[in-house]
């Protein structure tokens, strides 16, 4: 086994996990009310929770809500429309596979591709750039992802990408959306589990101002089962002790300052602007757009994108019943959606949450549709 493999296995020790789960149970018990509600904001956290069956051992009184942790899912319809309109104008689009089936107002990129448009699936921005170098035509990379992925996009633009290469940025920035969720009038969130990989870039310090403003603790956690259990145990301790603080439970990767070099690269290329996140709200500073110095690589300024022709369209009736928005805002779970697992499946998704492998509905579907085995097991 590789060193990386051995290291990962250290954080998959069931005996230590059982002790951690007992600690979690005890602390939640000491809080003495229910539910105690915390939110994670990362699809990879939900993936790990689902894969290892952790919901079955969470304390009954602990509610772990899935937040807006999937960059593909929160890509708004107008952003998809921009890519669709470009593709319909004959411009070649390269993007991540997950983005293909995300519904736009009238069509998805996959629909457009089926109708003959040039859409390529790539696995990285680097691959998109290499593709552009081989082509005699314009190539637009439809870029999605949170700050972690945005750094990779930025690094390519700071290199010397080919002149026929440009970016349609749908990149999103996580910290501002936590403010939105914390300020929602009916929010139940008492603490946040922050994504370890994003924090390797931003550093844990990024959450300090948030904690001060909202008096809600934030714990940075990794993605192995022990990381998640330890992160949750720390989080409920902070809730119990009424200590709104930032705690870094992923110190093997995350520092307080983060990766300075990556931050420089990110902010040299991108600036935060306000914009809608699908299903959530307008998020001030939640979208990453190219700075003026990079205008020549900005597809929005390089091409005239006319999305208005996509608006004369009645959305399919099923879309009215989709509750992806509520799921991403953390106020509903897939099991309360009438379409989930019936009309809405990965092969034929109605909402964006069923499209991406980071989407809550897709994850729940992948792991059997019902993630919380606590209730039934006790009755059994």
């Amino acid at each position: 086994m590789s060193d990386a493999g051995r290291n990962a296995m250290q954080f998959r020790d069931p005996a230590r996990a059982a002790r951690m789960a007992a600690l979690l149970e005890r602390v939640v018990g000491e809080i003495g009310r229910e539910p105690v509600s915390v939110m994670h904001v990362c699809g990879s956290h939900e993936q790990a929770i689902a894969r290892f069956g952790l919901r079955a051992i969470f304390p009954r009184a602990l509610e772990v809500i899935m937040g807006p942790g999937c960059p593909v899912c929160v890509t708004d319809m107008p952003e998809i429309d921009e890519a669709v309109a470009l593709a319909e104008d004959g411009i070649r689009i390269a993007t991540y596979g997950d983005m293909l089936r995300v519904p736009g107002t009238a069509r998805s990129l996959a629909d457009t591709q089926a109708a003959g448009a040039k859409v390529d699936v790539v696995y990285s921005v680097t691959q998109a750039q290499q593709l552009a170098a081989k082509l005699d035509e314009e190539l637009v990379f439809f870029a999605s992802g949170f700050e972690t992925t945005a750094v990779a996009t930025a690094a390519v633009l700071l290199g010397s990408p080919p002149p026929n290469f440009s970016i349609l940025s749908a990149h999103k920035y996580i910290p501002p959306v936590m403010e939105i969720v914390a300020e929602m009038p009916d929010t139940r969130v008492e603490g946040f589990l922050a994504a370890g990989h994003a924090a390797t870039i931003t550093g844990s310090a990024i959450f300090e101002r948030f904690v001060e403003r909202h008096q809600i603790p934030v714990v940075v956690a990794g993605f192995e089962p022990l990381d998640i259990l330890a992160g949750l145990a720390k989080l409920v301790e902070l809730v119990r002790d009424r200590r709104p603080e930032v705690a870094n439970m992923y110190p093997r990767c995350v520092t307080r300052e983060g990766n300075r070099r990556a931050q420089e690269v990110l902010w040299k290329v991108f600036r935060p602007v306000g914009g809608r996140w699908r299903g959530i709200a307008h998020v001030p500073n939640g979208n990453l757009r190219l700075r003026d110095e990079f205008t020549r690589f900005d597809a929005r300024r390089r091409f005239k994108i006319d999305v208005s022709r996509l608006w004369d369209y009645a959305p399919p009736s099923l879309a009215h019943s989709c509750i992806c928005g509520d799921i991403m805002a953390g106020i509903a779970s897939p099991s309360s959606c009438p379409l989930f697992g019936r009309q809405c499946v990965p092969d034929n998704p109605v909402g964006a949450c069923m499209v991406s492998t980071e989407g809550t509905c897709r994850i729940w579907h992948q792991y059997g549709g019902q993630l919380d085995l606590r209730d039934k097991d006790e009755r059994a």
Partner: protein, 346 residues
């Protein structure tokens, strides 16, 4: 559970051949229709078992057929010839018929296929037959134009006699589930070769005829050996689901006890594939009454193909038709693969 009713204008998709729920629905709706079970108490199409059983005097004639398409035709640990013999021998063995009377072999070849490759395949067929103690007694050869078929397709059918037919249902709460060795080897070896991953050498298909191993299991388990099934397409996950659904029991699977080799585990993590969804071609899942598991396990382990066998699960009355995976950390439902397994590359 909602039935996946297939609309009359629908098309057959790859997922309908992937061994999961979509395939079973297609077979049920299109091929079985209202076919009735045989009047002699035998096993027919409607049972959707590994093969059929027809009464022949005081014995049962067991028969099965299977077609083999695999890309590439030669893969680490085996080839399409060994696969075609093993697959059919194993289907008969899973019904308790371990003395294989004879096999047939039909082959459809694409114009331009290398004769040397064909000879390698037939040599492999002969070797696998010798190992299983049987022979090909009749066959058929067709050649199709270039592009009309992809390389080579084999079909084998097999017949065997047995005094006791073992089905793939009849499990009760408390019964124990055994797997005869490491899982996912075939699926991951073929996938790694197909996607040119540099993991070859460590990953080998487990393709093998299992009648010898199964004979020992049946001798040890006797009437307490209840059901058998080979976890081919759809992997261990689909096999356990089928057993749970047909028997109307839940199965609690102890994840950490499921034997998985380190190289399969590593390749599976890399490709984003669950080894429980990956195909096996030399493994059996055996259900026994409680108390018989150690006896059967010891018999299976005494066979070279069964060295890594383990008791992996228990049948329960809760959640009939479902498989509950105890991950060692917590519990969740195990799902069946949907459609072709596609590696994640990122």
């Amino acid at each position: 559970m909602s039935a996946l009713r297939i609309a009359p204008d629908a098309k057959v998709m790859l997922k309908h051949g992937a061994g999961g729920r979509a395939m079973r629905e297609l077979i049920r709706q299109v091929f079985i229709g209202d076919a009735q079970p045989p009047a002699d108490g035998g096993i027919g199409l409607a049972a959707m078992d590994d093969g059929a059983a027809i009464r022949a005097g005081d014995q049962w004639l067991v028969m099965t057929t299977d077609s083999y398409v695999i890309k590439p035709a030669f893969f680490p640990g085996g080839d399409i010839g060994r696969l075609a013999v093993s697959g059919t021998v194993n289907d008969l063995s899973m019904m308790g018929a371990t003395e294989i009377a004879a096999l047939t072999c039909a082959v459809i070849i694409e114009e331009g296929f290398a004769r040397a490759d064909l000879e390698r395949i037939t040599a492999s067929i002969s070797a696998a037959c010798a190992e299983a103690g049987t022979a090909i007694v009749t066959g058929d050869t067709k050649v199709m134009g270039r592009g009309e078929i992809d390389g080579i397709v084999l079909n084998t059918a097999g017949v065997a006699f047995t005094r006791r037919v073992v089905g793939d249902c009849g499990l009760r709460a408390g019964d124990k589930v055994i797997v005869t060795g490491t899982i996912g080897d075939h699926g991951l070896a073929v996938m790694a070769r197909r996607h040119c991953l540099d993991l070859d050498g460590e990953l080998l298909s487990d393709v093998a005829p299992l009648n010898g191993l199964v004979r020992r299991a049946i001798e040890a388990g006797g009437e307490e050996l209840i059901a058998m099934k080979d976890p081919t397409r759809g992997g261990l996950a689909s096999t356990l689901h089928e057993m749970a659904q047909k028997s109307n029991v839940g199965i609690v699977l102890e994840g950490p006890r499921v034997p998985i080799s380190a190289s399969v585990q590593a390749a599976a993590e890399l490709l984003g594939i669950d080894p429980m969804h990956a195909a096996n071609e030399g493994k059996a899942v055996i259900a026994v009454r409680p108390g018989a598991e150690e006896r059967v396990l010891a018999a299976v382990r005494s066979h070279p193909y069964g060295r890594h066998a383990a008791v992996i699960g228990t049948c329960v009355s809760e959640r009939p038709g479902f498989v509950i995976l105890d991950t060692g950390f917590g519990r969740r439902l195990l799902t069946e693969p949907e459609g072709e397994l596609l590696p994640r590359i990122c």
